[in-house]
Symmetry: C2
């Protein structure tokens, strides 16, 4: 397990989504339903396998009841 692995932007976004989703205590399927995105697509995004576009990311962010401003307001994005 390499603790020094550098996360790319896709990984950072995936980790952020997973964190906010867990805060809401909802499943990937539920988030998919709220943002009108396939469950497996959510899986891929959370695991940094998708280069998501801003329009789809907006749907996820709304599904998480947050905003772009808050979503990117963490140390990871500075």
């Amino acid at each position: 397990m390499n603790l020094y692995r550098v996360m790319n932007i896709k990984n950072k976004i995936g980790v952020r989504i997973k964190l906010l989703r867990n805060d809401l205590k909802i499943s990937q399927e539920e988030l998919g339903f709220r943002s009108n995105i396939d469950r497996t697509y959510i899986t891929d995004v959370e695991n940094g396998r998708r280069n998501i576009s801003v329009e789809v990311l907006e749907r996820v962010i709304k599904g998480l009841n947050t905003t772009f401003n808050d979503f990117f307001n963490t140390q990871d994005f500075k």
Copy 2:
């Protein structure tokens, strides 16, 4: 001229990029060079015609010498 037009996420991002680019006093072509993105693509993004992906947006943000955190830290994204 409709002052009440609602901006979508693509428009908001385009306006934000143009503002930051103008602050730097550089041309679209220069920003394209710095972020390794085609000049015509920068035009399209600034005018809200492109649904940019997060990896390409990251290159633009770096070309503007800023961060995701700062880029989205405006009233428009709240």
